[in-house]
């Protein structure tokens, strides 16, 4: 029996550690928002993030007053920092949907305690992403007619054959569905907070937001169907969004963009970057809010493995890009690859990219690095930088030297390009801080289902042990003595 327990631990590592009951789970997660004093480091962190977010406000204000000329965009590099940052942010969002939707469909129990803030991360990342293309239009209030199909006095419509219009539809659908998914997941937890809040204002606000949820069996029945269907439709959605983002590039004729590898390579890169951001957020969160019972070391290891797998797909993408360039036998493609890797002015960025995304993740093969939160955190930061560099390399090195040498030009960002990007980072972390303060950071009701006491008649457990016996006979020839 002892051996059985040990093997069970190995095959099914517990997703909730410590002695928890339904009540203690609710208290531990709910009290962060309701009871505990807001920790001092929250004010420091939020203060810094909020101050940094002012960079965004100032840049946008100046941009609207002055126009697009304040950015470094030029000819031929018409798409520069705004699109780099857009793709970077939207990619980060993808891990949230992957965790909440795809892992739900695959019945991966470890998603349960990280899905809530991963989804919040998605929402905030998409909000930041949307800022860039919108303001990149220069005067967004005049851009509506070619972005959205509405009958206007000029009698013209958007060009639906353009990937840029596809992008508008993809990103706005993605933002809406992510918001719905996140909110639907929150309803039962908001009801828990409503019933636990002592403060009458909190009670009223959570009461309004939870829409009178009372945990009725009939409601749960439809709720679960709706949740599963949302997961089912979000799965192709998340894959389509980054594929369409990659069409922005690959449908064009520019050497370095016009490649069929782009959609899968972009999707893998998005998940790669997103998991890095989830790790960056959850490693400090679980320490600061003492959530190690729910976000266990096992969770971190799994995320590290996903990062390694998607990272290898991305590296394969780099190899294929170079191969396509050579195999195309087009002098422009061959030149682009040379220009990108060693012959051009931006070669250093390419090798930094290879270091960040290709070499740094190789450490994740080793248990020592994978199981250490410190190293995971460091690697995640390197990967986030690397994914930003990837977009820089794809966009800038492809555009700055294209077909006609007479139109070549160098690109460098202005201070406003940089302040806008840093501003969105501040905005993102401010939103994360507010979320952590006012909403349950871990899905309470889903963690309850992970507890052994949530099984009716202990059926689940019986099943697991029968599986174990099979595993056991594989491992040792003599049957276990019960």
């Amino acid at each position: 029996m002892q051996d059985l327990k040990r093997i069970q631990q190995k095959i099914y590592p517990p997703m909730v550690e410590g002695d928890h009951t339904f009540g203690t789970v609710s208290d531990k997660i709910g009290d962060v928002t309701l009871k505990k004093k807001t920790p001092f480091h929250w004010f420091i962190g939020f203060g810094i993030a909020f101050m940094v977010a002012q960079c965004l406000l100032m840049t946008v204000g100046y941009l609207l007053a002055k126009g697009m000329g304040i950015f470094g965009n030029n000819q031929p590099v018409g798409w520069a920092f705004p699109i780099i940052n857009f793709v970077w942010w939207i990619g980060i969002g993808h891990a949230g949907t992957l965790i909440s939707a795809i892992l739900l469909l695959l019945n991966q129990k470890w998603r349960t305690s990280i899905n809530r803030f991963a989804e919040a991360m998605t929402l905030f990342a998409v909000a930041n992403a949307a800022v860039f293309p919108l303001l990149h239009t220069g005067r967004p209030w005049l851009a509506a007619y070619w972005l959205f199909p509405y009958p206007n006095t000029m009698g013209v419509w958007p060009q639906f054959r353009s990937p840029l219009v596809w992008d508008v539809f993809a990103v706005s659908t993605y933002a809406t569905i992510s918001l719905l998914f996140w909110y639907v997941g929150l309803i039962p937890d908001l009801a828990t907070l409503r019933d636990r809040a002592k403060n009458k204002y909190f009670k009223a606000v959570y009461g309004l937001l939870s829409w009178g949820w009372r945990g009725s069996a009939r409601h749960w029945h439809r709720y679960e169907i709706a949740y599963l269907l949302l997961a089912g439709i979000s799965t192709p959605l998340v894959l389509s969004v980054h594929s369409i983002v990659s069409f922005d590039f690959s449908v064009s004729q520019v050497p370095g963009w016009h490649a069929t590898i782009f959609p899968p390579y972009f999707v893998a890169g998005a998940i790669f970057a997103g998991f890095a951001m989830v790790l960056i957020l959850c490693i400090p969160l679980r320490v600061w809010y003492n959530m190690k019972d729910f976000i266990t070391d096992t969770h971190l290891v799994y995320m590290g493995k996903v990062m390694l797998a998607t990272g290898l797909i991305v590296v394969y993408g780099y190899a294929m890009e170079a191969f396509f360039g050579w195999y195309s036998a087009s002098q422009y493609e061959v030149f682009m690859i040379k220009n990108r890797i060693w012959n051009g002015p931006y070669w250093l960025f390419y090798w930094m990219l290879i270091f960040c995304n290709g070499i740094s993740i190789q450490f994740l093969w080793f248990k020592r690095f994978r199981e250490s939160p410190f190293w995971l955190f460091i690697i995640s930061i390197i990967v986030s930088v690397g994914m930003w560099l990837e977009r820089f390399v794809i966009i800038i090195t492809s555009l700055n030297r294209d077909f006609l040498p007479s139109s070549w030009a160098m690109y460098s960002p202005t201070i406003f390009d940089i302040s806008m990007f840093i501003g969105t980072l501040g905005f993102f972390f401010s939103l994360i801080y507010l979320f952590v303060r006012f909403l349950p950071i871990i899905s309470i009701f889903e963690v309850r289902t992970l507890l052994p006491s949530a099984n009716v008649h202990g059926r689940q457990q019986d099943f697991d042990e029968s599986v174990l016996e099979v595993e056991y006979t594989w491992e040792r020839t003599d049957p276990p003595n019960k």
Partner: protein, 176 residues
């Protein structure tokens, strides 16, 4: 003032007790019943005889509506209202209409799933008689409740003793 009785509410400690009790209640012939739990319990659907929801069908048609809307919009724009000759290419370029139609399919299916679920559940409903029982606040925390409404045709003065025979922690009167 005399208050009307809405039903009887029994409290249980574990999901297994709730499912067993729900089975007995259904076997005794009660139909206007409901169970409340802090997390979804799949076994309770069978125990209370909850029918499969129509929601998936609605979501399917929501998705189809989105698809038709997307295709219709683009065909109208590029084929009927404002045909634009791009290098002599055809007007009805359906492959390039797929991405927006696909996104609209998902958007409308998602809206149907969420708002259909809330509508079928009768939410938002800030007030419900069960909230009058102070202990019911624990239904979103750790306790399990079973309700038999007075509107049930089988409801009579014996219902209370029947509920107590199910070995709950306590049986409460739910006032209207």
């Amino acid at each position: 003032m005399e208050k009307n009785l809405y039903g009887l509410l029994a409290e249980f400690d574990t999901p297994t007790e709730l499912v067993d009790a729900a089975n007995s209640v259904r076997e005794a012939g009660y139909t206007k019943t409901d169970a409340f739990s802090p997390f979804p319990l799949h076994e309770i659907d069978e125990a209370l005889g909850i029918k499969k929801s129509i929601l998936p069908v609605l979501v399917f048609f929501g998705g189809i509506a989105g698809l038709c809307l997307g295709l219709g919009l683009q065909i109208f724009v590029h084929y009927i209202d404002y045909p634009l000759n791009v290098g002599g290419r055809p007007y009805l370029t359906w492959p390039s209409f797929i991405p927006p139609s696909y996104e609209l399919t998902i958007l409308l299916a998602g809206f149907t799933a969420v708002f259909g679920m809330l509508f079928l559940n009768g939410l938002p409903r800030p007030y419900h008689p069960v909230f009058n029982v102070p202990r019911f606040a624990l239904a979103t925390r750790e306790k399990f409740f079973l309700l038999i409404e007075t509107a049930d045709p089988k409801f009579d003065e014996n219902t209370r003793s029947f509920m107590e025979s199910l070995k709950p922690q306590e049986v409460f009167d739910v006032e209207e």
